[in-house]
Symmetry: C2
Subunit: 198 residues, 2 copies
Amino acid sequence: MQIPASLERLVEEFSRFPGIGRKTAQRLAFRVLSYSPDEARNFAEAIVRVKEQIRPCSSCFVFTDNDPCNICSSNSRERTQLCVVEQANNILPIEKSGIFHGLYHVLNGSISPLDGIGPEQLTVAQLKQRIQNEQIEELILATNPTVQGEATALFLQHEFENQVTRITRLARGLPAGGDLDYVDDVTLSEAFSGRQPF
Amino acid sequence: MQIPASLERLVEEFSRFPGIGRKTAQRLAFRVLSYSPDEARNFAEAIVRVKEQIRPCSSCFVFTDNDPCNICSSNSRERTQLCVVEQANNILPIEKSGIFHGLYHVLNGSISPLDGIGPEQLTVAQLKQRIQNEQIEELILATNPTVQGEATALFLQHEFENQVTRITRLARGLPAGGDLDYVDDVTLSEAFSGRQPF
């Protein structure tokens, strides 16, 4: 059996998402088939609306419906701390934890020479400008603990070490609730080398 | 930070899909944000189109853009064999395998008294009619190997045993490429009780 063309097209749309394979995409598309016409219209409208209404903040590049975003324009945030993340969605867990009250800067990716992504493809120039114009005292590098994330953090540290008093990065070690039995070698060696007085 | 309203709405739309949790929904919604306006419009359009163009086949209830569907209207199919499945997408792996050349009947679910789903909520009445009107010689029950799927198969067997010459169900046993170490008790006991001469 051929899948009907319009169904196949929707399956392909879902397949484009990262982490969604052909089978999951089929499952999602079949689910849409069981929607009422109203439900399908609402879903389609939500997609169009989000593109119309959401823009990256011109200062920090977080997605927002106001510009500058709520965080950049807030006067209850600590404006001397700047937390650098790879992607806009990375700020959600940080905001949810409530541990950080400073400002953000979204790089829109990480340095990855093999994919042709260097500092020019990221918002590094804009970060440089913010460091020059704003009273940043601490740059917190919160890139992902991956090869690309580390490379990006290292690059930013070299780039800005003479322009910011303090550059830090998030601690590495055992995740809360983890089990020593299942911890990988790299995490374990970072937990040892970063051990703290008890 | 509050997620902007229109973004939150899209996250909720994605969360409605089975197997998609809040975090995955956020990831998908953020992905849509990175689409070009054209890409977003295409995606939205694919959703609306699928509802406009795809209907269940009036005979077998497979989703189709023609009625009756390609399988029901084909003259190269074995019209004496009827394979009963729970959902329309269940026929995709069967068709892909090329092992079956008969007709299908989609129940649109399985019997599940706790969810208020009995034979009346499924296409059992239409199946009965097909058995009366068409020259069905074998009813192949291909419901899922779950409690509800089994209950549904059992019900159909009782319902139609006097009306169809032969009612079969798909074999149970070890899945190809599986590993005895990881096989569950039920599968293993079914593999033993259904063992065949070598």
